[in-house]
């Protein structure tokens, strides 16, 4: 049996975080009472005229800048004609031949791959090429009941950005990484919350198989109804296997659209090529073309540092490991927390702070089902604690205890907790030196042992001294004193 090459392209719809709808000033708000954010325009009433939302255009242009797209000097909007009850004016306003963004790409981050393949990424550093990004309107929300369907127009006319990739994705795992990386970038830009499970990001998959050696792409099969990034991965696995079996049996695959059923774990035919829509696009006479130069100039300064740029800076400037930098940069608020801690204690090695943030803080937040944005412990307080531990004033394990207490009673000064717990170490070199001198004088045989090369005997002295000080002697100063006197 021949081997097949899998080719995948994704069409991603992302809801933009705007105040108002795309073509009318109705509020964009999800979870409101049904049909409370409507007007003649988004209800498609005759004679109502659309007006472009500048904020939605800016957010789309910003997305294009983040993904390295180019923006044509002049763009326009077109009508896509079809009949469906969720779209009462019988056409969707979208962009056909002059979209806001052309080209560009989505970098696939290592940590964006499914956990089970992160150690074995086939094309590390791959950037998936984009075809275009255009700005259109969302449709109303249909709910299907037993005997009828109901429609809520709150979502109708809200801004929707469609990001279309080239057929440049080779596997289900790359599709997974594409969606996770894209989501990270959209969230970074404040463009969209892009949560697939909340419908803020939706994805259609185009997949085709062709035998190795054939250059022409196989028949394109479109998959719909994918409601999570994990479902996209499962659906592509299923569809790859289904098409492989069909081709092996000698079947000819025809261009078609299939629906994914996540509960049953399979796709079923929705429509074949003969039923393909004919959208009869034409320029929307109600909307005027738009020059983009001014918008680009206005938006460019708000281009954020992207996850991969942040990650590079964390490894170069702060000495973080690639993995730590990846995790820190994966979420803007986490990266900001970390950088605030680094800025608060410039003398503490940033790598130490990274350890505390990633191991102790994230672990504790996770246990308490909290995210970094509702972290009760300010970055400055954590940094102060790490500085105290690093100075040797308290031990690492005492530091963890103080950390737990700080989390339990936010706003408490670490110094106060250290005093209260009696962790205050004796760091007075004079007092410690007197203790050291005393114990050395009392144990000439052990001193001789050390001097004859048995450094292990040193530990005996340290142990005795810690006992004598009831655990409060600063171990680092003690060790320095012993070494200077014995070696």
């Amino acid at each position: 049996m021949p081997k097949y090459i899998v080719t995948i392209g994704l069409e991603v719809h992302a809801q933009l975080k705007t105040q108002s709808k795309m073509f009318c000033p109705c509020p964009v708000e999800y979870g409101s009472e049904p049909n409370t954010h409507t007007c003649p325009t988004c209800l498609g009433l005759p004679g109502a005229l659309p007006v472009l939302n500048e904020g939605a255009i800016e957010k789309t242009v910003l997305t294009g800048l983040m993904l390295g797209c180019t923006t044509p000097p002049l763009v326009k909007w077109d009508r896509k004609n079809y009949f469906y009850p969720d779209m009462p004016k019988n056409y969707q306003i979208t962009q056909f031949d002059l979209p806001l963004c052309i080209g560009g790409g989505v970098p696939l981050y290592d940590l964006a791959y499914p956990k089970d393949v992160q150690k074995n990424i086939p094309n590390p550093g791959k950037v998936v090429k984009l075809t275009r990004i255009h700005l259109e309107e969302d449709v109303a929300k249909s709910t299907h009941h037993d005997k009828f369907t109901t429609i809520d127009f709150n979502r109708a006319g809200t801004p929707l950005m469609e990001i279309v990739s080239d057929p440049d994705i080779d596997s289900a795992e790359e599709a997974f990484a594409y969606l996770s990386s894209l989501r990270q970038i959209l969230v970074y830009g404040g463009v969209s919350d892009a949560d697939m499970e909340k419908g803020q990001m939706r994805c259609d998959v185009n997949i085709s198989l062709r035998p190795e050696g054939q250059t022409e792409l196989g028949s394109k099969i479109e998959l719909k109804n994918l409601n999570s990034i994990a479902a996209v991965r499962r659906a592509i696995h299923f569809e790859t296997a289904r098409q492989t079996e069909a081709l092996d049996r000698g079947e000819v695959l025809l261009q078609s659209t299939r629906r994914w059923d996540d509960d049953r774990g399979e796709t079923t035919l929705m429509r074949s090529k003969e039923d393909a829509h004919d959208y009869r696009y034409f320029p929307d006479p109600d909307l005027l073309p738009l020059h983009t130069a001014d918008i680009l100039a206005r938006v460019s300064p708000s281009l954020p540092e992207l996850p991969h740029q942040k990650r590079a800076r964390f490894t170069n400037d702060y000495g973080c490991s690639a993995y730590d930098a990846d995790v820190l940069a994966s979420e803007q608020s986490l990266a900001a927390y970390y950088e605030a801690a680094v800025a608060a204690q410039p003398t503490v090695a940033p790598k130490k702070l990274a350890n505390w943030v990633l191991n102790d803080l994230l672990g504790a937040l996770n246990d308490a089902s909290l995210t970094i944005t509702d972290c009760p412990l300010p970055a400055t307080a954590l940094a102060q604690l790490v500085a105290i531990v690093e100075s040797g004033k308290i031990s690492g394990s005492q530091g963890k205890e103080v950390f737990a207490a700080m989390l339990a009673t936010p706003g408490t000064d670490p110094e106060a907790i250290i005093k209260e717990k009696g962790f205050e170490q004796v760091s007075d070199t004079g007092a410690l030196e007197a203790m050291v001198d005393e114990i050395l004088a009392a144990n000439p045989d052990k001193v001789a042992e050390v001097k004859s090369g048995n450094e292990k005997a040193m530990n005996w002295f340290t142990g005795q001294l810690m006992k004598a000080s009831k655990g409060k002697a600063n171990p680092k100063i003690l060790s320095d004193l012993l070494r200077s006197k014995l070696l």
Partner: protein, 95 residues
């Protein structure tokens, strides 16, 4: 007679229109006249004329991203032939 051929039933299907045979003949003739007019336009020498999607040289009409309340729920539903659960009720559709 027009040089064009129009599949009037396909056009009607796309527009969700049900046409009687008489209507189909009637509208096909009208659409042929529209296409014939396009032929007339196609004969014009338009070299040096930039293609445009709009007749007027007006551009860049946008509004700031500010929300403003629109209809009340009751107003929104007032034209609905049927409503239930504060929503428009329609025959069951599953694509």
């Amino acid at each position: 007679m027009s040089a064009h051929s129009i599949d009037i039933h396909r056009v009607a299907k796309l527009a969700r229109l049900e046409l009687s045979d008489d209507e189909a003949t009637h509208y096909a003739a009208q659409l042929h006249r529209v296409l014939d007019h396009m032929d007339t336009l196609a004969k014009l020498d338009l070299s040096g004329v930039e293609p445009t999607s709009h007749a007027l040289p007006v551009y860049d009409v946008v509004r700031p991203d500010e929300a403003r309340p629109g209809f009340s729920q009751q107003q929104a539903l007032s034209n609905a032939p049927k409503s239930v659960l504060d929503q428009f009720q329609i025959p069951k559709v599953i694509e």
